[in-house]
Amino acid sequence: MQKHAEKWTKKHILDIASLSREEIEIVLSLATSFKEISERDVKKVPALRGKTIVNLFFENSTRTRTSFELAAKRISADVVNFSSSSSSLTKGETIVDTIKTLEAYHPDIMVIRINSSAALYCLKKFTQASIVNAGDGKHEHPTQALLDMFTVKEIKTTLEGLNVLIVGDILHSRVARSNIFGFQKFGSSVTVCAPPTLLPFNYGQSGAILTSDLDQVLPKADVIIMLRIQKERQGGLFLPTIREYVRDFAMTEERFSKLKKDCLILHPGPINWDVEIVSSLKHKVHPRILQQAENGLAVRMATLYLVGTKQK
């Protein structure tokens, strides 16, 4: 599998949908090597020395930004953080103007988070840098899916033939969209479970199985990804109340008891305890979720390394 690293040709990482299974395997395999670096005393290798990475966050995200920043630093790239609160966006400058301004500093990689779906296909036209998608609107969050797959592979030793269940606000979730494509590329079956108001239109074409009956699909799951539910979804259009959501979709003690023994529960974080997962299960599921954060760092080091080393 490692030999495949030589076949990486992508300039950007914008989505999982257009990555091949082989390309995902390259990232996961590299991430294994990179994970070891974080266990060293000197947690730094000179791989991207002299390269400049701009973390461009048009939407707040301390966790993802920190993960990318640390990943960049551990492979010796110079990192600058640019977030919309400290930016000139408030002064009427457009997103594109910002990219063009930053382009003048000749960055090698731009890590971008933005609240507009599919925006990076547009923004890539304005920079020579490689772009890594750190979440674009409701579209994709590829590094999150890669770290989910990495974690699953680490624990389950394979990504093939699994029953992956994604529960929650699928409609607004970029994490779901990335994972649905990612896991299916390895021949795993993906089921998405949400109230019909939070399932995307005509989504059967994605290959995922759509359902609103959590209790029916729970017992078969090898992996469950619980999505964060935004509190503002309640009241009106999507959910009557969070209470009602908890009733039908939360991981309760009772539902937990019906899971396969080795069922792995993941959550992209931050968790609303007692909404997605009851807090009495904290000691059972939290360690795995923290493992995800550690793996996120390795996966992001791998992606930055792949797009940051020059191709001829």
Binding site: W8, E36, D41, V42, V45, P46, L48, G50, I75
Partner: protein, 183 residues
């Protein structure tokens, strides 16, 4: 057209490794101070064999580390395609150890430079010594080996290929001459 010549046979390699092992022991009377570090990938197999040999002679465990120098290469951001990043594993404390850095072929010296930089990031060894199976010349950096299996004067066009059972199902060292009139 290619012309290959066998420089070392399996038997030769065995003898060479035995000699190198004795040289290491001779120079380092306390084997517990030693740490063998093999450079991925064939340096690792050589290190494992030498570890075995030392332990057979001295009857004490000798520590072993594995080093992948890819991320320390000086040409990483200019070469393509991307080199594979393999495992690095230095489980034990490297401080005050005598590190025997082990690789199959010493050529330009750039790999060794990268390996030294990486080792320093793991700590401050007492001393680092370099062991190579083949020294083929053409150094580009001021680096020399402390233990050499065999010196083979080569031209830059020649390819030195070390094959080991662990990866190649045979022990031998070949030198291949590229015939440029056919290129």
């Amino acid at each position: 057209m290619k012309e290959s010549k066998r420089i070392l046979t399996a038997e030769d390699i065995k003898r060479v490794l035995s000699r190198l092992t004795h040289q290491i022991i001779e120079r380092n009377p306390d084997p517990q101070e030693l740490m063998l570090i093999g450079i991925q990938t064939r340096g690792v197999y050589l290190a494992e064999r030498i570890q075995q040999l030392i332990q057979e002679i001295e009857k004490v465990p000798v520590s072993l580390g594995v080093l992948d120098i890819t991320l320390y290469r000086d040409d990483l951001t200019t070469i393509g395609p991307k080199p594979v990043v393999r495992e690095t594993k230095i489980a034990e404390d490297i401080n005050n150890k005598v590190v025997i850095l082990i690789d199959d072929v010493l050529f330009t010296g750039r790999t060794v430079r990268a390996a030294l930089d990486e080792i320093m990031d793991f700590g401050r060894p007492k001393r680092v010594e370099l062991l190579v199976l083949i020294d083929r010349g053409h150094r580009e950096l001021p680096i020399r080996a402390d233990f050499v299996g065999k010196n083979i004067p080569t031209s830059k066009q020649e390819i030195v290929e070390v094959k080991l059972m662990e990866a190649d199902k045979i022990d031998e060292v070949m030198v291949t001459i590229q015939d440029h009139s056919q290129d």
